[in-house]
């Protein structure tokens, strides 16, 4: 510690060599790079802001401002070294956590995916056919880009030409119209090729939903030979934040991000809005969610506990057996025994799934109590697979920790006449637990979120009967969250999934903070200055 004072000085009063030693070209390069970064950021953030990423845009802006400050002020020199890593941490770790919390209080998910203006625009684009609306016959023409234009003939025989851009004019004003056929449609129009009659049916899906003619209302193709004058069905009333049905006069009120009429009729799509703690109350009170959730919640703890306990027990047993100084082949045995730990888990789990396969697997055909179909045996199976995957890690750490226990204690115990089992219970185990305790807690936290094994073993199955959400008997909270958000097959519910993420966050945070306290990791920071 003799050099403490010199290093202290170094930080507070930067030595002339480091702060003023920067040559002019170096400074110019730094300014140049910063300006380049700023220019790129402005362009990125600008576009991001207008494409629905305001929160992330703000985060990026703050991070880049911080980078500028750190690289422009000489007294912030130490932070220059930390800033690059910190920038990624803030953008891709801290902000996502905050964003998750925010999402948990919204109805974000299927039916509420697009921002409000987009939802309004989509609803407003719908049309209806007013009573007695004029109908037209139509002929399609395609331009070089593949866009379809229509030649329309109304009931009086007047003809119009409407292109896909919204231009709409009586046919006689359109230039480049060729000879008419028997039905009064031109054989050619300059810049267009006529779609033959036998391909009309094929073009129909392309035309669906497209409106020709003036913006309010316009003409829509309604059948193979008919097109009809339509009008805008819904109009947004910004003052009252309501959607008004132009046909019936029905008013749709904005109820938690969905325009809903008094009779309960809803307009899709909705848009994301904050809905308070509703996702959390749903978990707590909705029986169809609460039932499976509590099953999964309890199983997550059982799973994490037994994962640690079983792997630790086997790993410790092995290391006790191998812990003999003159044991032959020790190195070779060790290398072979940790093979399961060295294989990527996604590969081993898939292999085990094959071995347990009831029709084909070498174990499954001999002995199959329902490795994937019976709730209890599926749990036994996934714990067994995890035992194979995890004991080698425990073997490694207990072997190391055993070496740390002094031989003298055992000698003393032997003199006192303590039996082997007594020695294990009173000496080995307590000392070992002190040494590897934090790692066991860490392992618990890891298995609490061990998605890979759970998902690859049986996709969380077998399914829990009667669950309102996709839930299985071996699902743990994280795999359940994943299914809610991405793979449910019943639509994504980001809000609910985020709410469950928060619950896991809290549990894992408590476990880990407890672990830090246990190891004094946080205190270490203060000591080691």
């Amino acid at each position: 510690m003799a050099n403490v004072s010199t290093t202290e000085n170094q930080g507070r009063m930067p030595s002339p060599l480091s702060s003023l030693g920067d040559s002019l070209p170096k400074i110019l390069i730094r300014f140049g790079l910063l300006m380049l970064l700023d220019a790129l950021t402005i362009s990125f953030v600008w576009q991001l802001w207008f494409s629905g990423g305001a929160g992330f845009a703000i985060t990026v802006t703050l991070v880049v401002i911080a980078i500028n400050v750190v690289f422009l002020r000489t007294d912030a020199m130490p932070l220059r070294w930390i800033m690059p890593g910190l920038a990624f941490m803030i953008m891709m770790h801290i902000y996502p956590v905050i964003f998750t919390v925010f999402t948990a209080f919204t109805n974000y998910g299927d039916g509420h995916l697009v921002e409000k203006p987009v939802a309004i625009q989509q609803i407003e684009s719908r049309t209806y056919v007013p009573e007695g609306a004029p109908t037209y016959g139509w002929t399609a023409y395609r331009d070089a880009d593949g866009n379809i234009a229509l030649w329309l003939v109304d009931e009086e025989g007047d003809t119009y030409f409407a292109d896909s851009e919204g231009n709409y004019a009586p046919a006689e004003e359109v230039p480049g119209i060729g000879e008419l056929d028997a039905n009064g449609a031109p054989l050619s129009i300059e810049g267009y090729t006529r779609v033959p009659a036998n391909q009309k049916l094929v073009t129909l899906p392309e035309l669906q939903g497209h409106t020709y003619g003036p913006a309010d209302g316009g003409v829509q193709v309604t059948g193979i030979n008919t097109a009809t004058q339509t009008e805008q069905k819904y109009e947004y009333d910004a003052e009252n934040d309501t959607m008004v049905d132009q046909e019936t006069g029905l008013i749709y009120y904005n109820v938690e991000g969905t325009f809903t009429a008094e009779d309960g009729d809803q307009l899709r799509p909705g848009f994301p809005v904050t809905i308070g703690a509703e996702n959390f109350t749903r978990i707590a009170t909705n029986p169809a969610i609460r039932g499976p959730f509590s099953t999964i919640f309890i199983w997550t703890f059982i799973w994490a506990f037994f994962s640690v306990f079983l792997t630790f027990a086997l790993g410790l047993f092995y290391s006790l057996v191998m812990n003999k100084p003159d044991m032959p082949f020790q190195r070779a045995i060790r290398v072979l025994m940790i093979v399961p730990y060295a294989l990527p888990p996604f590969i081993s789990v898939l292999i085990w799934r094959g071995l347990l396969n009831p029709v084909l697997g070498v174990i499954g055909t001999q002995w199959n109590p329902g490795w994937f179909t019976d709730p209890f045996w599926a749990k036994v199976g996934v714990l067994g697979v995890n035992l194979w995957l995890g004991y080698a890690y425990m073997f490694l750490i207990t072997t190391g920790a055993l070496q740390g226990i002094s031989r003298d204690i055992y000698e003393a115990a032997k003199v006192d006449g303590a039996s082997g089992i007594y020695q294990f219970r009173k000496i080995t185990l307590p000392l070992l637990l002190v040494a590897v305790g934090p790692l066991l807690i860490g392992s618990f936290a890891f298995n609490f979120n061990n998605f890979t094994i759970i998902d690859l073993y049986n996709s969380g199955g077998p399914p829990i009967a009667g669950a309102a959400t996709p839930a299985g008997h071996t699902d743990i909270l994280i795999s359940y969250t994943y299914r809610l958000a991405f793979a449910g097959g019943r639509g994504a519910d980001y809000g609910l999934a985020a709410a469950i993420s928060i619950i896991i966050f809290v549990i894992v945070a408590i476990i880990t903070l407890f672990n830090f306290r246990y190891t004094g990791m946080l205190e270490e920071v203060s000591e080691n200055v």
Binding site: N3, T7, Q10, L17, S18, G21, Q47, S51, G52, G53, F56, M77, W81, P84, G85, L86, F88, M89, M91, M92, H93, F99, T103, V321, P328, F329, I333, L336, M337, A342, L343, P344, P345, F346, L350, I351, W352, G354, L360, G361, V362, W388, L396, I397, G400, Q403, L439, N449, F451, D455, Y482, A485, F486, A498, I504, F505, V508, T512, L513, V529
Partner: protein, 284 residues
């Protein structure tokens, strides 16, 4: 006494044999399946009658799936991530180890606390963020390797910085001081003096990051949605799906190829790993 000792060694060896059998039994079956021309999981013979390398050839050549591509994607993503993680956390560790500045402790704690929240739990947010980024920079959006690497870099600091800082602290400061008296800049000091001395810990962090990135299934599964961008974890799991009957042997060959990178790395760091794990364990 000699006899008792021999007996003692004998039963320990017997247990070791059983342990090795337990450890290797699935691996043996995978080998067997990989060289077996007949597609069946349930062969009684460990060495099939007509061993063949066709399954390996099928996995590497067949254009219908993209095993080679997945393998490549995994290697690309894991290598780039590991390199960047080492660089980012080594820079930070250098600063934390060598400079005393205001907010140092707070920052160290913040970095550690951020790790309390595993980023897999923020997968929904990360998914939505990549979706937003992708609208502006398609190369870093959803379903791109760039986007996936970006996600992994969120966890670059954290424990790695701590691990490295501990190691950096053991390098005597007199070394960099004398270098700086000779006129070396901080970067020169870092690159020419510290870097060669801390290479072991950088190697360990590189390999551990590589292995964990290579083995990640969840985030890759969430972010990637196309056969061409899958990493091995996603591709291989979808390849086998429920088709154990038809694809077991090909899968076995793929699994063996896929396990090679981590097996090699594990073998290389085996010793450092054990001492690293136990040093962490005994500290406290």
């Amino acid at each position: 006494m000699r006899n008792r000792d021999r007996l003692d060694t004998a039963w320990r060896l017997a247990v070791a044999l059983l342990a090795i059998a337990f450890a290797l039994f699935p691996v043996v079956f995978i080998f067997s399946a990989a060289i077996n021309p007949v597609s069946s999981l349930n062969t009684t013979q460990i060495i099939p009658e007509n061993p063949t390398l066709d399954n390996f050839r099928y996995m590497l050549d067949n254009p219908q799936h993209s095993f080679g591509r997945w393998m490549m994607n995994s290697l690309i993503v894991s290598t780039i991530t590991a390199v960047l993680v080492v660089v980012l956390s080594a820079f930070a560790a250098y600063a934390f180890s060598r400079f005393r500045f205001r907010g140092r402790q707070g920052l160290l704690k913040t970095i550690l606390l951020a790790q309390v929240f595993p980023n897999v739990l923020a997968m929904i947010a990360l998914y939505l963020i990549l979706q937003q980024i992708g609208r502006v920079i398609p190369l870093l959006g959803l379903n791109t390797l760039g986007g996936l690497i970006l996600v992994y870099l969120g966890g670059a600091m954290g424990f790695n910085t701590w691990l490295m800082k501990g190691f950096f602290d053991t390098v005597p400061r007199e070394l960099d001081e004398s270098a700086q008296i000779d006129g070396a800049s901080h970067f020169q000091t870092f690159y020419q003096i510290i870097f060669p001395l801390v290479r072991p810990i950088l190697t360990v962090v590189f390999i551990l990051t590589f292995i964990s990135t290579y083995g990640d299934y969840l985030l890759a599964r969430v972010m990637l949605s196309d056969n061409k961008t899958y990493t091995l974890a996603v591709g291989l799991s979808l390849f086998i799906g429920d088709q154990y009957g038809q694809r077991w042997n090909q899968f076995a060959a793929g699994a063996l190829i896929g396990a090679i990178p981590t097996l090699i790395l594990f073998y290389l760091v085996q010793n450092q790993l054990q001492s690293g794990l136990t040093v962490g364990a005994v500290k406290g």
